[in-house]
């Protein structure tokens, strides 16, 4: 393992500083509140979970390719476990599901780890999508077959394929940016998470008009616009850690933010269809793993391919 890039340490120090301020504010709010307040408790739960996530993410980024691949591989596993819990799969899907967890997931991350772009970019949509229904059909249970196959495929698409495009950013070869690819991951994750937080803040401050009352009653037009614009500004301000100019960084941030927002709506629709409020209850204040990952899920592959097309040499 080589020394982490100084820029990465600066970014991590910056995030830690922000979290210290957030924790201080959370503590002050709790002290100031006359009685226990659910909103403040939830806020503090979230800040605490943030600490855990930032520490894990920081360690993974410092650990380089192996660290990041392992971390996101584990995230995919936990996400797939949550997703599969909510599907209506049956006995006959047992082997297809087992293959999804214990063959497809590790193989995908192995391919990412050895940077085999030609295979990891099609392994799930071609090989897994064709082979898993074959495994399922051999059991001979045709009841709701299409639905069951689609559920397993979507679970893999969302939880494994999309998530794996975060560590895949490390395999890009951008001239003049060698050895700094972990910063692309930091950029993506910071923009996505800032967008979530800023949309929440703007929504709480100015939110009036519901944007998708049926899907996500707490999301408002004001929150969305304010959050998207300010997260784009944050992205532009972070262009120093990327191979992009400030304008390019802003445009890419906007793409990330839009994909994240609409991805969040899609994931809400799935939750509503399944009749749950959160994907799981693993992280206090944050619901499940997928609740934290949903915006990254939709933005990561698009961000990856746009950057690859315009900037990468391979």
């Amino acid at each position: 393992m080589s020394m982490p890039h100084p820029d990465l340490l600066i970014v991590l120090a910056g995030i830690v500083a922000v979290l210290i301020v957030a924790s201080a504010i959370g503590y002050a709010l709790q002290r100031a509140a006359p009685e226990p307040n659910a909103v403040i408790e939830n806020l503090n739960d979230r800040i605490q979970a943030w600490w855990v996530m930032v520490i894990l993410m920081g360690l993974a980024l410092i650990g380089g390719k192996t660290g990041v691949t392992l971390l996101f591989g584990f995230c995919s596993f936990a996400a797939l476990r949550e997703f599969a819990t909510l599907t209506d799969t049956r006995r006959a899907d047992h082997w297809a599901l087992a293959a999804a967890f214990f063959v497809v997931l590790p193989v995908q991350y192995y391919l990412i780890w050895i940077s085999w772009y030609g295979l990891y970019s099609i392994f799930i949509p071609v090989y897994a999508f064709l082979l898993l229904p074959i495994i399922a059909v051999l059991r001979g249970d045709t009841d709701r077959f299409l639905v069951r196959v689609a559920e397993v495929q979507w679970a893999l698409m969302i939880c494994v394929f999309c998530v794996s495009h975060v560590p895949a950013l490390l395999s890009l070869e951008i001239p003049g940016y060698e050895g700094r690819n972990v910063l692309l991951i930091a950029f993506l994750v910071i923009v996505v998470q800032m967008s979530d937080v800023l949309q929440y803040v703007w929504g709480k401050l100015l939110g009036r008009t519901k944007i998708a009352p049926k899907l996500s009653p707490s999301k408002t037009v004001e929150g969305f616009v304010g959050g998207a614009l300010s997260a784009t500004a944050v992205g532009a301000a972070l262009s120093w850690m990327t191979p992009f100019t400030p304008l390019q960084a802003a445009l890419l941030s906007l793409v990330i933010v839009l994909m994240g927002f609409f991805g969040g709506l899609v994931m809400s629709a799935i939750k509503r269809d399944r009749g749950v409020k959160d994907w799981g209850n693993l992280i206090a204040g944050h619901g499940g793993f997928i609740d934290r990952l949903d915006s990254v899920v939709f933005s990561a592959p698009i961000f990856f391919h746009v950057v690859r097309y315009f900037w990468s040499a391979v």
Binding site: R91, H94, R272, D273, G275, G280
Partner: protein
């Protein structure tokens, strides 16, 4: 008595099983109407898989775990050396004879003996694993006799959800799915209660803990609080 080495190996294997259970099921205990505090109890749970007591054991706080013994069928857990090791040395199970004919020890007496030594118990009053479409099979009378024998000990219902999907009968590779164990308000047998009344009460108390999400398609989306 166990020798020191065997005890140590048992502890280590127990820890490994516990980690594995968490890895596969991310199991969480929900304490709904009772707190996870010390005190002697009889946990009674639905039975769909051989892993059932492992999940209950996993969600109990470590101190309570050490004083809790599962009650399991001797016919299954004494069959091979591996099972014997797991049943006796790892989980310290009270192994009872389920065959009514020609059994040597009375199961209720064995359970009472364990209670009198201060242990809490995990029992599966359905008797065998549930492989029917019903959420719960009728309880056997053992729970009633146990409650009568030691009426001052709380009976705590514990609903284990989803484990039957993790490893359906006949499969040997578990599918990772999130499981929960929900503990409900304790109950006791009343002075005047008949066996049928008590068993019906216990069955209802356990069934009430089953999440309505077993068939997610059935719930109307409106029922979800936003």
């Amino acid at each position: 008595m166990l020798s020191g080495g065997r005890l140590l190996v048992g502890r280590i294997v127990g820890f490994a099983i516990l980690l594995f259970a968490r890895f596969i099921t991310a199991v969480r205990g929900r304490w709904d109407g009772i707190a996870p505090v010390d005190g002697q109890r009889i946990y009674f749970a639905n039975h769909a898989s051989h892993g059932d007591f492992i999940l209950i054991w996993t969600v109990l706080p470590p101190r309570m775990r050490r004083q809790t013994q599962p009650v399991a069928g001797a016919d299954y857990w004494l069959k091979t050396g591996m099972r014997r090791f797991i049943g006796r040395d790892v989980f310290n199970a009270v192994l009872i004879d389920r065959e009514r004919e020609n059994r040597k020890a009375d199961p209720v007496a064995q359970m009472v003996e364990a209670l009198d030594k201060g242990s809490s118990l995990i029992v599966f009053p359905e008797g065998t694993r549930n492989q029917t479409a019903e959420p719960l099979q009728p309880f056997k009378s053992g729970l009633y006799h146990l409650a009568r024998a030691r009426p001052d000990i709380d009976l705590v219902p514990a609903w284990i959800d989803n484990l039957n999907r993790v490893m359906p009968k006949g499969e040997f590779v578990p599918i990772p799915l999130i499981c929960t164990v929900t503990f409900g308000a304790p109950l006791r047998v009343a002075e005047t209660e008949t066996k049928q009344e008590f068993l019906a009460k216990a069955e209802a108390a356990l069934l009430a803990l089953s999440p309505k999400t077993i068939e997610p398609n059935i719930i109307a989306p409106k029922a979800i609080a936003s």
